[in-house]
Amino acid sequence: MPTPQSEMSGHNPGADSGARPPLIELRGITKKFGGYTALDGVDLKIGEAEAVGIIGDNGAGKSTLVKVLSGVHRPSSGTMLFRGQKLTLGSPLDARRNGVEMIYQDLALCEDLDVAQNIFLGRELKKNFGPFRVLDRQAMTEAAANDIADMGLDFDVEREVGQLSGGERQMVAVARALQFDPAALLMDEPTAALSAEKIRKLWEMIGRLKQRGVSILLVSHRFTDILNICDRIVVVRAGRIAGEMMPHELPPAQTMAMMTEMMTGDTVGNGAEA
């Protein structure tokens, strides 16, 4: 069986950047749930402004990996570094404070709150009101309207999220993640509920984010998402990193064949199944 990881070694921009440490580095991260090992000694580097795709079968450990990175799960063992500094994430708020934003598969929005309230949820802007600090509703509404306009969209930020379409909700989740200028944006299956048109718009947006210097970590089942967006692809199988590859250095058919091999552990004949 080929060993793609060794084949592709030396192609990790995060590892190759020399003087600058990678934005995020995981060393030997293990996560256990009772007797079940979801992640088993994972090493991963994400460079500045790099888009990394995580792909793997159901139950491979993709979501657990991204939840460790976003502070939802604490690793059972291993080390996490942020710009070369050791980092312990006890909660999603810790991750946010370090510039790591997450867009969850179900978007994690409060449907009864409006767009502006969702964008600023947990980080509300405040102003002085006599001796008190009160919510600055006007500032939040205006800032949210600017965010939505900046994304080339046009909808009322005082509308309840429950009244928006799937695509609009996705954009609210993106706007919320971008509001505080993140260094890294983690996305778990962001295209799962989107139409082809909305997926294209999302890809364009991710391209613009990369240009702004934001690192992207994308978890997806869809090969096309990964191939279109990512500089580097990491394949996860049974809680371990099964291999990595640089999609722009290989023909798409070969990349897909290799991804399939790494995901399943089986050889794919001539890459035809891809």
């Binding site: 409060c110 449907e111 919510l135 509308r159």
Partner: protein, 325 residues
């Protein structure tokens, strides 16, 4: 029909989770007009003041219950908390403490009961119905055990004055109710406390992932509910002139009916204090109408239960329509 449509769709009712139900306002107007015709006594100042006085006790307790229900919770223990708070204050006055100390201790007891509910529900993840039902029984039982089932007659004039005195013709207890509502109506839209109540009720997981400590906020919400229940208990004792272990028995039904009638959703995330206030007015006008029409009190219970069911059904239908849409 155009006038009705304009009324129902007007922007004055607000938007989203804090929107008032125009149908509720319409119902208040219709019941008010109907009762004015049915009974000549209804529209007298004495009767309306009596309705207001009767409404106050339930109204104060309904503030905390509204917050709890918007946050997706439930509190069945408010009636027991009311009785326990009244009895503690009465005991302390009998033992020589001042009225301020007795009131503070009573409110503190309500907050402790609320905190116990909050810890059970938020940290031990016990279903709110079960946790507060158990607290209802425990607190009521303890009130009977400690008092040996005896009531305490209140002799303190300051306390009694709260129940009978007036300022510019308005009873003190009505003023206290108005102050409590004004305080929370100002607080909720302007504070993170208010914002997080709606967020937790709407999607607790999303709130947690946004960095909100849902456990701590839930605890605070139940503590607030305990405090308003205790204040309601003190006002009830002031009105009746005694503190009894059996006081406020069944008040939960009135409180929860008013809150749900006011538009708070049992699924959380929606509701307003103004809605609860209008729900209270509607509920007590109907009660008053039934009394004026000399309907036996047992039948009034049946009607109250029916109103609660109708309000919950309306909430379900409204939610269903939103979900289907």
């Amino acid at each position: 029909m155009n006038v009705l449509n304009s009324f129902m769709n007007s922007r004055i009712w607000g938007r989203g989770a804090t929107a008032l139900n125009p149908g509720l306002v319409l119902a208040v107007v219709v019941v008010f007009i109907a009762l004015s015709f049915i009974s000549p006594y209804f529209l007298t100042a004495t009767n309306l003041l009596n309705v207001a006085k009767a409404l106050v006790i339930v109204g104060i307790a309904a503030v905390g219950e509204t917050l709890v229900i918007i946050a997706g919770g439930f509190d069945l223990s408010i009636g027991s908390t009311m009785a326990a708070a009244g009895m503690l204050a009465a005991y302390m006055l009998d033992s020589g403490f001042g009225v301020a100390a007795a009131f503070c201790a009573a409110i503190g007891l309500g907050m402790s009961i609320g905190a116990t509910n909050g810890v059970l529900i938020s940290y031990f993840r016990i279903n709110p119905l079960i946790a507060t039902l158990a607290m209802l029984a425990i607190i009521r039982g303890l009130a009977f055990v400690i008092s040996n089932g005896r009531e305490i007659v209140i002799t303190n004039q300051t306390w009694l004055n709260l129940g009978t005195g007036k300022l510019a013709g308005i009873p003190y207890i009505v003023l206290i109710l108005v102050l409590v509502y004004l305080a929370f109506l100002l607080l909720l839209p302007r504070s993170t406390f208010g914002r997080y109540i709606y967020a937790i009720g709407s999607n607790a997981r999303a709130a947690r992932l946004a960095g909100i400590s849902t456990q701590r906020w839930r605890l605070l919400i139940y503590i607030t509910c305990g405090a308003t229940a205790a204040l309601a208990g003190l006002m009830l004792a002031a009105r009746t002139g005694n503190a009894r272990p059996a006081a406020a028995m069944g008040f939960e039904l009135d409180v929860i009916t008013a809150v749900i009638l006011g538009g708070a959703s049992l699924k959380g995330g929606r509701g307003t204090l103004l809605g609860t206030a209008i729900g209270l007015i509607l509920l007590f006008m109907i009660n008053n109408g039934l009394t004026l029409a000399q309907v036996p009190s047992f039948w009034q219970q049946v009607v109250k239960g029916g109103i609660l069911l109708a309000a919950v059904l309306y909430d379900e239908l409204r939610r269903g329509r939103v979900d289907d849409g």
